[in-house]
Amino acid sequence: MRREASVPRADWQERCESAGFSYHSMDGVYWDETARYAFSAAEVDLLEAATEEVHQLCLSAVDVVVKEGRMAQFAIPEPFHAMVAQSWQRRDPSMLGRFDFSWDGEGDPKMLEYNADTPTSLLEASVVQWHWLEDVRPQADQFNSLHEKLIERWGALKGSDAPRPLWFASVKDNDEDFGNTEYLRDTAMQAGWDTRAVWVEDLGWDASRRCFVDLDDAPVERIFKLYPWEWMVREAFGPHLLPQTTHWVEPAWKMLLSNKALLAVLWELNYGHPNLLPAYFSPSHFAGEYVKKPLLSREGANVTLNRRLGVVREPGGYGAEGWVYQGYAPLPGYEVRSTHDAAAIPAKRYPVIGSWIVGDAAAGMGIREDDTPITRNTSRFVPHYFE
């Protein structure tokens, strides 16, 4: 694994926008093709295997948590425990998720967390970096069969039945969420689903029919939502989830995997596993460096690195539900020299590897890079290839 400088395509903005990737420059720079990451085929094979291995560990962990009734450790409100358990017992189908790994190509990739419920950066991982590869290194390969696997997975969820309505919901006024959701809707349409779009805020609850409805009051029987379960169960419509009249993608049991309590349970069940980091509900297990993470947080918010060299803390409003303490696996830091001042101290870039699962199969990789050791919502997406 190495980081290389790369010359941006002259028409990169147009290429991005042709795929519906309108938010390529949010926060200044988001899509960044001034660099790229290169891998060997063996490295990609190892990452692919690690992804599927950790995915299976996660499914086993859900089974244990449900059977042992440990949802309070995940700060899931008690009225929803049975709903989550039933969702797992029925094996309500899951669509996708994204593991974040710390890895520099040496040793074993270490799983940092699992974005199992509302993973984003999908369109850029699946389509935009694929276009980049076609344009820049067409002879190379890429760990990215996301598009094919998404269509295949939607097809498997649909079965051989006639097209049925499937709604896709994201929040209003957020281009990134809309872009990710529309891309998933696109792949579902290609798999034969009759898709509809609705804003999360526009979903209705029909008290007389006891079902969720769209803006035309049509019952919403199946819906993909890019909106976290942990928010849904705590909002005004939360109690309306309990009758379970709607099939949600992702399903309710994904609440257990998108929660940092998972990290401690995984370590407890798989102590010493090479792809996991030590993780506990108390910091007392660590004599040295560790990372403090809220059970529920997004985009690095409220994450604290307790390092020998000092503490790095990201601000945010999370942590009320509790914390998990995880061993510190520093992201690799790649030096970037200034093109204007050769004598200047090189800056560092810290990549995190997002490895996708679609259904039960590893499906691709997206790399996000930051100027700090904590990946945040402003981290840039950098394409990759392998040979």
């Binding site: 519906g20 984003t120 390969d141 990215n144 957020n174 805020e201 803006l215 890019l226």
Partner: protein, 143 residues
Amino acid sequence: MIGVQCGGEGMEKRRGDKRKRSAAITLVLAGSLTGCGDPEAQRDVYTNLESCQKDWRDPKDCTRVADGQRSSSYFYGPRYFGSSYPSGRPRSSPNAIDAARAGRGGVTHMASGARASSGGSSSSSSVSRSGFGSSSHSMSSGG
């Protein structure tokens, strides 16, 4: 289908069963994205005539797709000036599956009136809304 179709068949031959990249990518919803400026008309795309008439009532406003851009079983509604997302992409009616840009000039057939159903107006009194979404504060719900 709107085409963002890039050939990948040759790659499959070159790399055989070791290939880990998608062979080809086709998008059906990727719309053209335009910047700000003069208002631009749009046409909503419907999967069937019934959905189109639900919005526009007059069957003359609904025409079967014949431009090869999408399935010929779909219908276009009339051109009209609607709202758009922050990106500039036009917002479609809830009854439609998509909205297509219809250009800034040369519009020959504009909708004579507003859509019959534009969301929410047909709701019955037993329906309540806005019960989800309050935690987002317009920030991304993803991670």
